[in-house]
Structure formats: C-alpha cells, structure tokens
C-alpha cells in the first residue's frame, strides 16, 4: 500500500485516496477541433518513468492535488497543489538520476 503525500495532510496510506488520472490535461475548450478534443478526452502519455497525476484525499481532507510518481519504482517524488505550475519532469528525472549516482 503506497504512502501518498497529501500536500495538506502529509503522507497518508493509499486507501484514503482515489487516483484521478493524469495531471495538467487541459479541459477541452467548447470549440476544440475533433483532434484536439480526442487528445484531451482520450489520449494519455502512459509514461514509463515520471508522471504527474491527480489524486484526491477523499477519506481525509477531501482535496484534489497533483503528485509526481515514478511508474516503474512506484515512488512519489513530490506533490503540489492544484494551480501550481507543472514541474519539468525531464529536469526532475535528471536531478534524481544525479542524486542516485552520488
């Protein structure tokens, strides 16, 4: 069972949370063309590596937030509040690799 870092409550067991899909996917605008609409609705990065995802601390503070998790190691790297800018995942991965090499 994962330990999920809620930015408001701190690390809590996974069973208090629901996952809410990839983060930073802009809601389709009402006049989006079909391709952009399909991208927004149905296509996800499915990254092997770091991803930013949405979580909700449903059985806790009830709030949505974003978190960066590594899909191979299942380790959380950071979490942040909705509206905060998306982290640069490529740079984050480099930083982590450099730290791991130390």
């Amino acid at each position: 069972m994962l330990l999920v870092p809620c930015p408001w409550c701190g690390p809590r067991p996974e069973l208090e949370f629901v996952a809410a899909g990839e983060a930073h996917v802009a809601r389709p605008s009402p006049d989006a063309d079909p391709t952009a609409l399909a991208e927004a609705l149905y296509f996800r990065a499915n990254t092997k590596g770091l991803i930013a995802e949405r979580w909700r601390h449903l059985h806790g503070c009830g709030r949505f937030f974003n978190a960066v998790r590594h899909t191979v190691t299942d380790k959380f790297v950071m979490s942040y509040r909705p509206g905060d800018p998306a982290p640069d995942l490529a740079r984050l991965a480099e930083t982590l690799a450099a730290e791991a090499a130390l």
Partner: protein, 1000 residues
C-alpha cells in the same frame, strides 16, 4: 516417555507436562513445548502424508515452516477445521486433533497410491497431453476426477466461528525475524530510543540458537543471552515483541503485513480473543533477519520417509529431545551436516557413515574422523531403499573421470542430507530489492534495496554466529539512525557456535541411475522430479517462469522454499547455462499461507459491506415489503399483501397509482445542497441545462454529462433561494456526482464561491403520486397553497407537512400528479405513518421500486445506467431539449460538438410494441433487421427496459436502436432462443402522451 524416539534428557520441552493428542484417530502423548511434528517423530510415526500427485508415502523433512510434506488438518469442530497446516507450526495442546491429508482410506493403505505405478503418464504437463480428447470430457470427467485425486486438504464444511483482528501500527524499526541477528538488531534499535517491533514466526525467540544449546554469546550459554536480551527489550516501553508472528508480505513504502497466531496453540482459548491478528505495519526502517533455509540434496527416491534435512534432525534432537532414528547415514555437500552427525551421535544415534559429495570433504571432515566417525568423500547416495520408511541406502562413488559407480548397501532408518544453505531473500525480494549473484558461494544475496530495508545475518549470507550478531546490531543501529534516532555505540559480540555453509551444491546430485527413469524429487510438495524439469526443457520451455508453470515446481503452498534453487540448477544444467543466467522466479507474497479470515478481519457477514436503510425502513418491513439491494441501499421492491404474489402486488401498485394514489419511499435519491453566491453559475456550467435564470421556487429536470458528452446522471435542481439549490441525483450516482462537482470546484473553477454538501441522509423523501395526491397531502400542509395555479408542476417550497418542517417538491416520476415531501431524516418514519394512513383512506396503496419502474417506463422516462450505457448523448435518449446550446460553456459542450455524436447511425431511445400483448421482451436482448440473423450479424441495438404494463394490458419495452426515431413505424426483430420476435418501433411514450395528468 512419549515415544521410542524421545531422548532421555535434553530439549526445551517441559517433561513434567505430558499432553495427549490424536493423529488420524490414534492417541499419542507429547510434552508441553512439542510441535505436532516433534511429538509424532518421538512416537515413531514415519509417514505423515501422501504426496500430491503420486500419493507416495511421505515423512518429515524440515523442522520449520519450509516443511513440504507434513501438511495436516487440525480440527476443533466443523467450523474450526484448518487444512494445510505445517506440522512444525502446530504447537501441541491438550486434546489436539490432527489428520493427515490426501489419502483414502488411510495413510498406510491409500487407494490412489496406484498413481505411483502410473507415474509415466503423470509427467510435466500431463493435464494437457493426456486429457486433450474428447474436449467435452475435460470439465465433466477428467478435471473433477483429477481434482479429487490430487490436492491438499479439504475446506471446512461450516462457517468459521472465530474472530480475526486487524491492527494498523507505525514503528521506527521493524525487525523481521527473532534469531541472533534479529535480536541484536532489536537491541541496538531499542537502545537508540526507537519504536521497535520484533516479530518471529516461532513460539519463542532465538531462531537457530534454540537448536544449538552449546552455543555461547559473550561467554554465556546462548539460552541465557536470549533470556537477558528479551528482558532488556521487554523493559523498553517502545518495543513490541511478537512471537508466533510471521512477516509474510512486504509491500510498497515499507508496509509490511504480519500474521499473529493468537489462539491456535491454546487448549481452551478465551472466546473473546481473535484467532489471528493481521498487523499492518508502516515502518520507517525495516531490518530483515529472516535467516537461511537448508537445501536438500536431490537423488533417486530422496522422498522416502526418513530422508530429512540434517539441520532439521539436529533441531529435533537439541530443541525437542527427539532422535529421528536409530541408525543414520549422512549425505552432505557442506560442513553443516557434520554438526548434526555429532549431536545425533551424542544422543545415541548410530552414525553409519558420512557421505560427503565434495571430493576432499571440508574442514569438518578431519574433525569428524578424529572423533571416530566414518567419512567417505567424493561419495553419495545412488538410491534409497524402502518405501514407507527408509531401510537403507546404496552408496555412490564418484570417480575422477566424472562417472559414478554404485557402491555398497548400508542399512539405516534415517538419512540426513544437506546441500548447503539458501539465504532467505523472500522478504527482500518482495520489497522489490534487487538480488545479486555471489559467484564465490554460488548463491543469491540481497543487493540494492528498493525500500528502506537492510538485511542482516544468514539471510544476508553471513555464516558465523558472531558475525550474525555483529551485523544484526549494526543494522539495528543504522536503521534507528536513519529513522531519526541517536547513535548507538557499536558493539562486537564474542560467540561460539556452528557456522552454516552458504551456497554449497545445487541441482541433481550425481548418481549411477538412469536419469530418464529414476525419480529424484526436487519439489516434494508438488511431486516434481529432476527429470520432469529436464523434460520441460526438452519440450522447448526455456524461460524459468514457463518451466515453473509447466512443471508446477515451486507452486505449492510452500512456494518451493526447499526446492527453488535445486529446480533452477536442474534447468540450468539442462539448458547448458549457468544458474544466474537462468534467473530466479518471482518471490510472491505471502511467505507462508494466510487464512482468509485474517484478510477479511471484521469485514464479514453484516459488516462485509455497509447496509443503508431509509428512515422508514422498519415501517416498510411491517407493511410486508420485499427488499432489493440498490448499491448499499435496501429498497422496497414491492409490498405484497398477505398471500399476494410479488407479480400481483406490483400490478396492483401500478394500477393504484394511476387510479387513485400511491406512497413511495424515495429517500435513497442522492441529494446535494449547492450554496454560495456563485451557485447558479456553477450549476449552469455543471449540467447541460440552462439553469442560471431558474427562478426561486422552481425545479428543473437536469442531465449531467462529462466532457465527453455522454449521459452520466440525471436529477432535479430546485432553487430554494438565490444562492441555495437542492439538487437530486440518481440513487447510485450520488457519490460520483458529488465527486465530479468537487473536482470542478476545486480544480477547474476555483474562483467560484460555492459549497457542495452531500445531504442524502439528512432528508427522508416520501413521494405521493396519483390523481388523489393533492387530496391526500393538502390537509397536512401548512404555509403553502397546493392549488395547480399556485403550485404548478416543477415547483418547490419550504413549508410544514404534518407539523414537520419540509421541503416540498411538485415533481413526478410516474406521469401522474405528484409531490415529493422532504423532511429531516429523524421525522421520516412519522411522516410515513401520517401519509400512509391518508393514502389508505383514499383507497391508495404503498408502492415499491418495481412499480415505480413500470410507471416510469409507461411514460418513457429513462433510468440512467439502465436505458443508457455511457455511450449515449442527451439527444440519443430523447433529452436533446434539455441541452442549453446557447450557453458559452458547460461540462460536455465540447464533446457534444463532435460531428460523429450528431451524425446518422446513433442509437436512439424508442419504444417497441409486440403484436401479442402477452409477450414481454427480455431486457438486454439484441435487435436486428433480419428475423433470422446469421452469426456475426450486426445488431441494431438492444432492449433496455421491458415490463408487463397492467395499465395498458400488454408488454411494453424501451430500446436503443440505430437511427431509431427514423424507424418509427417499421418492424425490427428480437432474436430469442425460441425464435425471433417481431416488434414495431414506436415513440417511447405509452401513457398520456400529452402529459395532461402531470399538470392536473
């Protein structure tokens, strides 16, 4: 004495406390401190089980939880019957009743032992090869017979009456394993002030030291050191000591599951105690001190009762005072077995010979010879003699040229084997730590950890007692430090004890027999031999994961603890590669079997899932309601009069609502109160409907989609005040609609000042529907004029009903004049009483969900999730009028703009009319254009709702059909097993098409 093989003295058993027990109906006596295994061995019971496939007689092999053969069923009563327990883990208690498994009629004479003679057909994959034809025989004949003949224990016949507890705990340092390394680790962590949990699967701490009374630590006998260490640990208030507790599963983020056996060892357990406790530990740091498992040598007929691990025989004699035989041959590839030979000889067992596979033996060889033991090096066992018990062995001599010759015959009743020790890396591997191959000692060891975990002691490949203690202490100190506690001064231990041989020999030992015919068992529990593995390789299986599944090696309840490395080595030899190149199969949780009860905990019976009952539930029960489950809710399906059938009740209820009036408990409807200055703006964006200008006191039927444009939920939005809305959802959709509202409020439109609060259970809701509804309700209402012009259809008001403050809606899901009275939940039953009396006074009736469904279907009102399936737009189900297309934005606007959601070929909601009024179509039935569609025909759609309509005197159906609205008046077909049914496509309204009754 408790049996011919009990030593006169020695062991950790209490010889003053004899304990009576039965095994397969025979009475035996053991001592307090015995396991079932040690007591049976003391009594001279050689055969403890029959093997899985061949039904070969089997005896004890190991003294620990890795035992492959001695699986027993322990019976307290019908419900307290536990199969597949390892006899070593069954502690003797007064009155214990145990039975062997997989034999009929008895262990000594087992009918299925004929399988052993048929063994040529039970090769790898015999299921697939032997029982291929005829196909229909598989599930009816072959599989049941095979399943009955093979297998382990039987499940109990009665429900388990025991309780199971679950605990969530946090600690700084969890130490898994209470042997020397684990005890030292716990000691160091405790000294730093850390919160420590130390657990061990056995009934007492000490691990390997319990079987080695001669060992000393810091000049004291090991037993004294254990006692002093435990006293020290127990004095620390932040240390939890758990015996009989196996750390069986290591999960993400240092979440470790422990199973504590609480009552199984007690003769008369306190009924208040749980049988087992599942500890769910979140540890900042974990020290794995799981020890090592001795590996048997693989040679022909190595499964005969009396062939056992040397370390096990040593444990039985030293810890339990049981000599496993009278005359022993020792067959070893490591020094460890020599210690067993010395200890057994001291207990009076004749050591006939030590056969050492190594050409020149090891350091222990000379010591043994000096002590007068006969050791033959470069030698082994060619085959074992005897069937239900070992009677002797034929030795094998390994020549310098690599060939092997059969040697002499040695009479014996005990064969001790040791190929070496395998570090128990199960937990480390479960934690996703990477294993590394130690070429020098030919063994897998913990490598890079994935979690905050460190391994110490034998599981880390550390061999000597002093090194295990030092390493354990250092690991405990480091773990505590990493968990944020202070430094502990390093400590070195002076210790004497037997070092184990890590590594050693793996695979099938050399012998002179025909390797394609002799059976040298690798996996004793699943009856897999070395030649089975070679056959799998010959048949083309290369990946070890495939070999494992094809031969089933390592897939029994012991998960191959004693067999995996040997299996890998046999596969490596057969494929001509090295053991590390073959790789390991996955170490799966749980380490040892866990009862379902422990996982279920309190979640069984009524507590399995919450049951939600409406405030008037008891009233409906008294009224004879038949309930159905709708999600977690109990809803009245119908309310039959005494002697009335359910079908008759539904028909009566439906007629009554149309003719007079009916009362329906609608409390399960989801309800959300949406308040705030921006509430109207929010709802206008959230639902497809235009809601911004909804006047106070009015309601609107609303449809929700997600951004994809597909219908997701529906309900009523009622405006109570400019900034306050009472929103209803479907019964099943309440939670997800509220979650979606929260999502938009928190992440998409955080600028909106709105609160959405779930109020489903705050309000009881009674629907009064039918021509007499106003007459029933009006006399109870204060502060509101119910006249049609004053309170028209789709109105809402706060008022008093039967003296109770209420939110009164004029809405209808039946097509009749209707009201829904919302009162605070505590008043629900009282309101029911008043309304039920008045409804009865007007010749009306109570009605349930089935009547509600018939009534709404007669009107063509959709049920989201029944008539819709997540692929239909509002327009598809005839609700296009609800969509506020002029709005700048709403959830779903983008999706609904997709050209293919508006083009031809959409499935649309229609009605179906069958000529024969008696025919009621079947919900879910497919619809085709062709009355006799060939297989593969494209279905035009399917029936979504179908009922017998008492008001129309015929069957009615709703369906979704491609371009359905343009097919109205045409014939479609519903192919059924009894023949195709022709149906006319009609508009989906069967009753009061003009809606006059609604506005009465």
């Amino acid at each position: 004495m408790t049996g011919p093989f009990r030593t006169p003295t020695g062991g950790r058993i209490d010889r003053t406390r004899p304990i009576a027990f039965t095994f397969d109906g025979r009475r035996y006596t053991g001592f307090q401190g015995d396991t079932l295994a040690s007591a049976l061995l003391a009594a001279g019971v050689k055969v403890v089980g029959r093997s899985f496939k061949y039904h070969r007689p089997r005896g004890l092999v190991s003294a620990g939880s890795d035992e492959p053969n001695a699986l027993v069923t322990v019976i307290r009563d019908a419900g307290r019957t536990t199969p597949n327990l390892v006899a070593n883990e069954v502690e003797l208690r007064e009155g214990l009743v145990a039975e062997s498994q997989n034999r009929w009629p008895s262990l000594a004479f087992d009918v299925s032992a004929v399988n052993d003679l048929l063994s040529p057909i039970f090769v790898s994959g015999f299921y697939y090869k032997t029982f291929m034809w005829p196909k229909s025989f598989w599930s009816k004949v072959f599989e049941p017979v095979i399943r009955a003949a093979a297998g382990f224990g039987r499940a109990p016949t009665a429900a388990d009456p025991d309780g199971y507890a679950q605990r969530f705990v946090h600690c700084d340092v969890l130490v898994a394993g209470g042997g020397p390394a684990g005890l030292a680790a716990a000691l160091a962590a405790a000294e730093s002030g850390a919160r420590v949990i130390l657990c061990d699967e056995g009934p007492e701490f000490g691990g390997s030291l319990l079987a080695e009374p001669a060992a000393t630590i810091d000049s004291a006998p090991a037993a004294q050191w254990i006692a002093a260490t435990l006293a020290t640990l127990a004095a620390h208030p932040r240390v939890t000591l758990l015996t009989r507790t196996c750390a069986f599963g290591y999960y993400q983020d240092n979440f470790v599951a422990l199973l504590e056996r609480v009552t199984d060892h007690r003769a008369a357990p306190d009924p208040a105690l749980p049988r087992e406790c599942l500890w769910q530990v979140r540890a900042a740091q974990v020290v794995i001190a799981a020890g090592a498992l001795e590996r048997p040598l693989v040679f022909p007929d190595n499964d005969r009762p009396g062939v056992m691990l040397a370390g096990a025989a040593r444990a039985w004699v030293n810890r339990w005072g049981v000599a496993a035989g009278a005359r022993a041959v020792v067959y070893t590839a490591s020094d460890s077995a020599y210690a067993a030979a010395h200890d057994l000889r001291s207990a009076g067992v004749e050591i006939v010979r030590i056969l050492d596979l190594r050409p020149d033996g090891g350091p222990a060889t000379a010591v043994a010879r000096a002590a007068g033991l006969t050791v033959e090096t470069g030698a082994g066992i060619d085959r074992v003699l005897g069937s239900t018990a070992v009677t002797g062995v034929v030795t094998a001599r390994h020549r310098a040229d690599g060939t092997t010759a059969a040697g002499e015959t040695l009479a014996c009743d005990l064969v001790l084997t040791s190929a070496g020790w395998t570090p128990s890396v199960h937990l480390f591997s479960q934690s996703r730590g990477r294993l590394r191959w130690d070429a020098a000692r030919a063994t897998f060891l913990p490598g890079t950890p994935h979690e905050a975990a460190r391994s110490a002691g034998a599981c880390n490949g550390t061999a000597s007692l002093a090194d295990c203690l030092d390493e354990g202490f250092a690991a405990g100190a480091a773990a505590a430090r990493d968990a944020g506690h202070g430094a502990v001064a390093a400590r070195r231990f002076a210790a004497t004890g037997t070092a184990i041989d890590i590594g050693g020999f793996a695979g099938e030992a050399p012998h002179g027999g025909n390797r394609d015919r002799t059976r040298a068992f690798v996996d004793l529990q699943h009856d897999v031999t070395a030649k089975d593995i070679r056959l799998a390789v010959r048949e083309g299986f290369r990946s070890i994961e495939h070999v494992k599944r094809y031969t089933t090696t390592g897939m029994a309840t012991d998960q191959g603890k004693t067999s995996n490395i040997n299996a890998l080595a046999v596969a490596a030899a057969a494929t001509g590669t090295s053991l590390p190149a073959v790789g390991l199969t996955t170490f799966r949780r749980p380490y040892t079997p866990v009862s379902f009860g422990a996982f279920a905990g309190a979640s069984r019976g009524d507590l399995f899932d919450p049951v939600r009952r409406t405030p008037a539930h008891a009233r409906a029960t008294v009224a004879g309601a038949v309930f159905e489950d709708v999600g977690q809710w109990k809803r009245a399906l119908c309310l039959p009069a005494p002697g009335e059938s359910e079908g008759a009740a539904v028909a009566r209820e439906v007629r009554s609502v149309r003719a007079t009036v009916g009362l329906f408990d609608a409390s399960t409807l989801g309800k959300i109160e949406v308040v705030g200055p921006d509430a109207a703006t929010f709802l206008d964006r959230f639902y497809v409907n235009a809601l911004a200008k909804l006047p106070v006191g009015r309601c609107r039927y609303v449809v929700a989609t997600r951004d994809d444009g597909f219908v997701y939920d529906d309900g009523i939005v009622a405006r109570l005040a400019p900034d306050r809305f009472h929103v209803t959802t479907t019964t099943g959709g309440a939670a997800r609609v509220h979650a979606l509202m929260e999502d938009f409020l928190q992440t998409e439109w955080p600028d909106l000042d709105v609160w959405a609060t779930s109020i489903t259970e705050r309000w009881a809701v009674m629907a009064i529907q039918g021509p007499q509804a106003r007459a029933v309700l009006a006399p109870l209402v204060e502060g509101l004029d119910l006249a049609p012009e004053a309170f028209p259809h789709m109105s809402v008001a706060t008022c008093t009903v039967a003296g109770i403050p209420a939110r009164l809606f004029r809405v209808s899901f039946t097509g009749e004049l209707g009201f829904e009275v919302n009162v605070p939940a505590d008043h629900g039953a009282a309101l029911w009483d008043r309304l039920a009396a008045r409804v009865a006074g007007h010749g009306g009736t109570l009605y349930g969900t089935e009547a509600m469904h018939v009534l709404r279907a007669e009107k063509g009102y959709v049920v989201v999730g029944q008539d819709t399936d997540g692929t239909l737009t509002p327009d598809d189900v005839g609700l296009g009028w609800a969509v506020g297309r002029a709005k700048a934005d709403f959830v779903g606007k983008a999706g609904l703009a997709r050209p293919d959601l508006a083009g031809p070929g959409r499935r649309q909601l229609v009605g179906l009319r069958v000529e024969d009024p008696e025919v009621v179509l079947v919900e879910g039935a497919q619809i085709t254009a062709d009355p006799a569609p060939p297989p593969g025909t494209h279905a035009l759609g399917h029936v979504t709702s179908a009922y017998a309509s008492p008001n129309l005197g015929r069957g009615i159906a709703l369906a979704v059909v491609e371009d359905g609205r343009s097919r109205i008046g045409t014939i479609v077909h519903v192919p059924m097993p009894g023949g195709s049914i022709a149906a006319t496509v009609v508009a989906p309204v069967f009753w009061d098409e003009e809606g006059r009754r609604l506005h009465a």
